[in-house]
Amino acid sequence: MLRQIAISCIVVVLALPAVARTRPHYGGTLRVEVEGDPWQRPGGLARRVVLDGLTAMSLDGTARPALAVEWKSENDDQRWQFRLRPGVHFHDGTTLTSANVVASLTAICGAGCPWTAIHAVGASVVFTSDSPLPNLPALLAGDNYLIALTGAGNTATPPGTVGTGPFQFGNSSNGVLILAANDNCWQGRPFLDAIEIHTHRSIHDQWLDMSIGRADLVEVPAEQLRQAHEQRLTVVASPPVSLLALTVSDSGALASPNLRASIALAVDRSSLFNVIFQKQGEITASLLPAELTGYSFLFSADRDVNRAHELRGGVPPPGLIIAAEGAPAMQLAAQRVALNLRDAGYNVQVAAAGVPQHIDLTLRRLPLESNQPQPAMESILRAAGLAIPVLEQTPAGLYKVEREILGAHLLIPLLYLPRAYAVSGRVRDLHLGPDGAPALAGASLEDAP
């Protein structure tokens, strides 16, 4: 069943492009609508087309050259050297240098970077670390490490928006962001002349605009995929790219490992999958989806309320607070989890918005930033606040690491969710990247002049 769902998602992704490989048309303006901020991290659409990384993620999950043309590691992956692509310019004409890159990456993560130090050495950028960083090339392809020109920006161009990508900041007013084609892009000029992004549009309004021909690309939350199909929207969906998970506090009421294990057994993933998320994505009790590992079936996703009661050991139920990050569906999911836990004897309240309090359980969406298992697992752990380098390369080794991490019950995987968009009939060759973000630089319009 799960495999069928995964396959159906992939089919949707692959079915959208034209039947045969045809050359794209140049020209035209793509009209996009989004619910949030297009510059947000991770996943902001504008970030992805304005900024480039040192590496980029290919569809098969390997890191491929982008602003860096080659790289090598030394000293057991504790020293990495990335040689920059020559002749690349930022949108304002500034030449890309290793000093620019170092400044940008330092500004992004400061003291919280995965590496210990970063240096500009000639035309190369050198990363050093106290511990091995075997997945650094894949990590640098992620949304967090895109290169922006630091110190640039003024009233016309906001900070962090001058990059080397295929589109450049045009203007922004009244919630409409205009991105113009970068004629001098190192990857070649994009096919579209411009992208017009209408920001902070509700999903309802986005779909309405799509239905009356005022939008070409709108968002489809995973929980509304079924509804989108019923409304006959042309949907392009990614394979699972984010993990819905509970992060569990190891202090306060849930300091006991047995209580945390009890919580993990009490959650009913099926009801979340069937009711809240309308049977989209896949149920999981593992950190990585089956497509990446093949072993996720070894982690049982079954609910066992009796065992949850046993593990609680008759202790008077502690009062727990659960919070949810993000969209309304997440709030509904948190309420559903709270109901599950009450069945197992816990007294659970959903956190009230704006009231500072100790949170025991947080329902979050953790992005899967790669489709290589090691960097993907690292990205999830990092987003969950568990910065654990994953050095294992074999399935058996990865399984062991995952089993150990999940054994602490600080992170409880629930569902894997896809990222999806609805597209108008004008749009062609729109592919979703490994992180589910639309690759707008490769898209074109059927009716372009």
């Binding site: 045969a20 490989r21 491929r64 080659e70 090339p137 001098n184 990446l292 590992t293 072993y295 070894l298």
Partner: protein
Amino acid sequence: MKLLCLLAMIASVLMVQPASATSGPWEQPAAALAEQIAGILGTGQAHLIIQNNSTISTDKIPAIRRALEEALKARGVQESGAESANTIRITLSENIRERLWVAEIVEGNETRLAMIRVEAGALHQEVSTSEITLHKQAVLTTTEPVLAALEIADSYVVIEPEEIVIFAHSATGWEERNHIGIGQKRPLARDPRGVIFPSPDGQGFMASVAGMACSGTYQHAAPPVDWIVHCRESDDPWLLTSPRPPDTSSAASENLNAFPIRAFYNADRNSFTGVVTPSMGTDLPPLYTAVLIPRPDGAGLLMNGIDGKVQLVEADALKPIAGTRDWGSDFAALHSGCGSGTQIVASGSGEAISDSLRAYEVPALEAIATSAPLAMDGTVTALWTALDRKSVFAVVCKPSSQGHADIYEVDRVTANCN
């Protein structure tokens, strides 16, 4: 002598038969997994359960089960009934890269695991039942996009987006000798294109890329060949067909070579404007590709418009060609000698991630497939007819391995008559 031959045949059959009867794609992974299981369980009995979570078809499962049973037996693990205290639960799983076979070895309350990877790629077989079979042979591999290439005067002249690269023969194949910058002043396109043909006197080449025209001449044909290459800004029309005089005696070939056709290229786009010279007697829409093909009354120009429609220009009229829905933007003529003698090799991808090439004939106003698709293991980014016209060249972009640029492979595609 006959007896000797017969004995040799019998001996060879006897030598081959046991291997073909027992070896298959599953024996090796079965042995590897059995080895791990035996290492955990030791010798003894166990109940064997096999579950298929992969895309392996169910009709293959009995063979896999047999292979596993035999491999376990050879290592002292005998299969027993469900009443056994030990259970080996084997799940045939997979991920996007490979197959994964997982054994859960249950002894009482304890479960231990064994896992092996199984390569997915080696298990596919294709059978061709078509009129012709296409074959490919890699000619050249580079890390820069190849727009077009020409083998001439013991050299291989390759047009890249910003350079012309001259390769010369070496003991290991083609070896880079010269890089000549094209010197574009305008930004490069995301979908760059180029063409290269021999010059009319046969002493060099003529090449076009967006906004530029280049010509090359060689000083003497014996290696090492010295090339002199000049590039200049130009909006002259590009050659679509070879300007060389006919070099065969067939009427069709004479017709095809008699009309070198040029087309104006839109340097801001990736297509031709539709203005061609000499005139075709009718207005043409903007187009990506056009090739001359023999027709009963001479030659016709088969063209692919940017609207995706494939049309034939014949007798001063544009005629739509049916059966081309699966074609990509690029195609080239292949004078294979099979069937009617000439096929169109068209690129396409269907629902596959990689592109394929397929041969078609256009006897009337419908394209009929005459070969099975030839998988190209990447994206076909350029396609043109070879100078001998008995093969076509395809440039295939293949995804890179970690830390390296994408690979561009120039493949020569030829046809065998079935």
